[in-house]
């Protein structure tokens, strides 16, 4: 192989090793012909390996493109028959009835309601837990509780759904009058417990990462421990805490099984947590389980709903990514 161009050789020769050479004329004796034992190998195996690995890395891009293409294409079919005005203007969602309505608001309301309840549960508990773990917990307790939280985050959501339906809702019915068997409150609370580890764990990382010098500066000014934590440490970790909350919200919006099992299948535009509702995700499950023929507008609704879901979580995830980047760079606000 004696082609004149430089071959990117994975051993590091793809650094422009001899890039400067053309412009210079170094002194010294003229070089001899390259002896065979120094020549580049014939095999292009290195290039092949590089290519295969590159393709592996591309799979993630292809996945994203695939998601977007699938959702957009099927949604386009849907919006060819249902106008955007109806989608965002109608207040009813009844694609399976004779009298069809395709207003997204009831599903959106269901999703937002359960998410709101989840955040109301997870935010105070998660933040308090994070501050306690990072600032006050003895090291030994911390070492036990953090992995316990991680396992908590890994419990299958179908299990949480079962808890919501068979234990939490009946227990709530004893205190909340008029609470239906399917409702937003029970699954919302259980969802809060589900996202609590995300908020607690990521916030704890952020608080733990606040440099000791800041704490010491505060102590040196005569501030007490509690004051230091709330006036100096927590505000400094704000980016990381914010990112953790956003990620928690994103998880709650996309959460499927808890609400599919325990919240009901009745899309309705309400913020009453006691009555059955339906979230966007639960609706996709409902259609997937049914026998709606493919290619019909009813079937395509799940892709339109999926697209909304995808866009909502995407915006939140990118916001969280930005915030975390800022935290890692050491920005304090």
């Amino acid at each position: 192989m004696t082609s004149p161009e430089r071959h990117p050789d994975a051993t590091g020769a793809d650094a422009p090793a001899s890039g400067e050479r053309s412009g210079r004329t170094p002194s010294g004796p003229p070089p001899a012909a390259v002896p065979s034992d120094l020549l580049r190998p014939r095999a292009r195996s290195e290039q092949v390996v590089r290519l295969v690995l590159f393709v592996c890395a591309l799979v993630s891009i292809v996945t994203t493109v695939g998601i977007v293409v699938v959702l957009v294409r099927e949604s386009a079919g849907f919006f060819a028959e249902v106008s955007l005005a109806e989608f965002f203007g109608d207040s009813q969602w009844t694609p399976l009835f004779d009298q069809k309505h395709f207003g997204i608001w009831p599903l959106l309301a269901g999703t937002l309601l359960t998410t709101l309840i989840a955040v109301l549960v997870a935010l105070p508990f998660g933040l308090l837990a994070a501050i306690y773990l990072a600032e006050f917990a003895p090291e030994r307790l911390r070492r036990v509780l953090k992995p316990a939280l991680e396992v908590l985050a890994g419990i299958p959501t179908v299990v949480y759904g079962y808890f919501a339906l068979t234990y939490v809702t009946p227990a709530l019915q004893l205190v909340v009058p008029g609470l239906a068997g399917f409702n937003a409150l029970g699954p919302g609370i259980v969802m809060g417990i589900m996202i609590l580890p995300i908020i607690a764990s990521l916030s704890e990382d952020a608080i733990y990462a606040v440099p000791a010098s800041l704490r010491e500066a505060s102590y040196a000014l005569g501030a007490g421990r509690l004051r230091t934590v709330f006036r100096v440490v927590v505000p400094s970790a704000f980016s990381g805490i914010g990112a953790s909350v956003i990620l928690g919200v994103s998880r709650a919006i996309g959460e499927t099984m808890i609400v599919a099992i325990a919240a009901g299948q009745q899309p309705r535009l309400t913020f009453d947590p006691r009555v059955p509702i339906e979230t966007m995700t639960a609706y996709i499950v409902q259609i997937s389980l049914g026998d709606t023929p493919t290619g019909t507008v009813e079937y395509r609704t799940i892709f339109a709903v999926g697209l909304c879901l995808f866009l909502m979580t995407l915006v939140l995830n990118i916001a969280a990514y930005r915030l975390r980047k800022r935290m890692l760079k050491g920005g304090l606000t």
Binding site: G19, S27, L39
Partner: protein, 291 residues
């Protein structure tokens, strides 16, 4: 010293040969002066107007330096002077670091190792290297470590056991490890690990051996053993040793090059450089006025 030299030797030394490793540094220097005055050894490697960069920072500013065959050349200088960068350029290891660049020529037997058709992997088979910190492969046994070069190069040795023994003997490690060849190399002491790394390089039968501060992580006793080893290896290999320790350079090297701020300040026979340096900067350094 002269009397020792003048004394009749029972066996004639091989042509172009050097005194046996048991002689002292002083005797050796004198003998070398005599031998190299008659016939200057060939340049096994040489650098010509060699420049090297890390990103925008220029680490080497045009080095031209011969490396004589079967001689030990020491590179000395204060830290940051480019001495490590220089040896890493010799076997094209410099370019492994992201953002690193090289310009100029490095000849190995008259062949420019930076020529466009040259495979850096091939260069490194002929120009072996030992690093500052002993770095045996933790997932391999002592025997596998010794033969790692062949295995990683995808070759099969005809007699792996024999080759491993030979390399370990050359590195003066055989007697200490011959019964534990199957154990991990990580269990050895620092000095033993470094000799294992030397054995690993020697198993490939290189022509040049680059040693980048091989003793800086070792205690004095382990250092002495490595230096002894270098005395033995000079018979067969062209050795380049980077050291921040001037006494070490004086002990092991035939020739010494003094680097400062990326430039070659002075290059001469070791005894000359340390006793009669021709540059002020060299004298300041070896007398400890800076660095």
């Amino acid at each position: 010293m002269d009397t020792v030299l003048a004394a009749p030797t029972p066996t004639p030394r091989p042509s172009g040969g050097l005194p046996s490793p048991t002689t002292t540094a002083g005797e050796r220097a004198a003998a070398l002066a005599a031998a190299d005055a008659v016939a200057r050894p060939t340049e096994k490697m040489s650098a010509h107007d060699l420049h090297a960069w890390f990103g925008k920072a220029e680490a080497l500013k045009g080095i031209t330096l011969p490396l004589l065959e079967r001689r030990v050349t020491a590179i000395i200088g204060p830290s940051g002077c480019g001495k490590s960068t220089f040896v890493r350029c010799l076997n094209r290891m410099h370019e492994v670091v992201p953002g690193a660049r090289v310009a100029g020529r490095v000849l190995l037997d008259g062949q420019d190792v930076y020529a466009s058709q040259v495979n850096p992997v091939r260069v490194r088979r002929r120009v072996g290297m030992v690093f500052q910190k002993p770095n045996p492969f933790p997932t391999m046994s002592i025997r596998e470590n010794t033969l790692a070069g062949l295995r990683l190069g995808g070759e099969k040795a005809p007699d792996p056991a024999g080759l491993a023994e030979k390399a370990l003997r050359q590195a003066a490690l055989w007697d200490e490890v011959k019964d534990i060849l199957g154990r991990s190399g990580s269990g050895l002491s620092g000095g033993q690990q470094q000799r294992l790394c030397i054995a690993r390089a020697l198993a490939l039968e290189p022509e040049v051996l680059l040693m980048d501060e091989p003793c800086s992580a070792l205690d004095p006793i382990a250092t002495a053993r490595i230096e002894e080893l270098i005395h033995g290896l000079r018979e067969r290999y062209t050795i380049v040793i980077v050291t921040h320790n001037m006494q070490q350079a004086a002990r092991v090297a035939d020739y010494t090059a003094f680097f400062h701020l990326g430039e070659l300040v002075e290059y001469d026979r070791t005894d000359v450089l340390f006793t009669r340096p021709s540059r002020q900067r060299t004298e300041d350094y070896i007398t400890g006025r800076f660095g």
